[in-house]
């Protein structure tokens, strides 16, 4: 029997971690059922993702301290207002540590779509959010269809075309 080699074992473990780590990223949720969650909104209402089954849902993970979120959210507000009546729901999951910072941001930027507080970061962990913002599009059947990391100017055009495609299904 060959002697036990710690180096080989270490290499195998490292390789396994290297393979497993990318699998844990949010983009790997694509095609899978969106993990369900229930969070309190800034308005005080509890919102559960699975209750929107049958509608196209966009989940936007954001933080008041993230520059791209400040650019993206007013644009998302417009998209939400346009497609709301067609069966589209936009949920913003806040990653700040305090409710006050999220409230101040929402008031300053005039955000009206539901902003949910994930103070325990449970949903953030569940969706393996690595950067801010992350935008996840869930179809009518509850499956994750598109995942976008970060925000670049003009990305809202991609969002719109994806939303329209999902609404047509």
């Amino acid at each position: 029997m060959p002697a036990f080699r710690p180096t080989a074992l270490l290499l195998a473990v490292t390789a396994a971690i290297a393979v497993a780590l990318p699998l844990y990223a949010a983009s790997n949720l694509k095609g899978r059922e969106a993990p369900d969650f229930v969070l309190k909104s800034l308005g005080g209402e509890n919102i559960r993702l699975s209750e929107f089954r049958g509608q196209v849902v966009m989940i936007n993970f954001w933080a008041s301290w993230a520059g791209p979120s400040r650019m993206e959210m007013p644009r998302l507000e417009k998209i939400a207002a346009t497609y709301q009546s067609s069966g589209f729901v936009l949920l913003g999951v806040n990653m700040d540590d305090t409710e006050a910072s999220a409230t101040n941001f929402a008031n300053a930027y005039g955000i009206t779509y539901p902003l949910l507080l994930d103070l325990r970061k449970e949903v953030v962990r569940e969706y393996a959010v690595e950067t801010v913002p992350v935008t996840v599009l869930v179809d009518r059947g509850g499956s994750v269809r598109f995942v976008h990391k970060d925000y670049r100017v003009g990305a809202e055009q991609t969002y719109v075309s994806e939303i329209r495609a999902l609404l047509k299904e």
Partner: protein, 209 residues
Amino acid sequence: MSKTSRSILAALLLAVAFAGAAWPQDPAAAEPQAATSETPNADAATGGDAAAGSATAAPEEFRTLDSDVQDLKKEVLDLNKDLFVLEEELLFPSNTQVAVYVSLDVGTFFNVDSVTLKIDNKEVANYLYTAREAEALVKGGVHKIYLGNLKVGQHELVAFFSGKGPHERDYKRGATLNFEKGVGAKYLELKISDRVRKLQPEFIIKEWE
């Protein structure tokens, strides 16, 4: 061996050889001949019947296939149920099982928002109720908030209820129960009811036998 006996043996062998060659022709070879000779007429005569037969056989076949698929589906469902029961039994054996339910009676003075559950000073459940779920509770629904395992002996259960109380005020109350976990499953109910005389909600933890 003499010449005579050799010739007799040769004759016997020849006879056996002829008989062997002739034998299979009788039952098997004769039939195909007859069949082949009859084929043109038989085709002409039975062609329509065969077509009609296959037309009736096809839906029958589909029906059988459909019933097979239905049977298979039923078997899968049964298997799934058995697996679920097995899983429940393995993960939460009845000897150590503790289940906690939440119910709401009337709900005029309390609109439930969340319930936090602590057993032996350890948080085991924290559930946020959406408007739909709260409505379901008002309509008589019972929610299983916790299912777990506990050792036999004394335990303490603390439940914190938060929501909107009378006059839409934020309301937070706690209820405690010390209970004895014996052998066998334990069922507890967190009951929210209205105390009409005081116009206040009431929080009770009830033990089920």
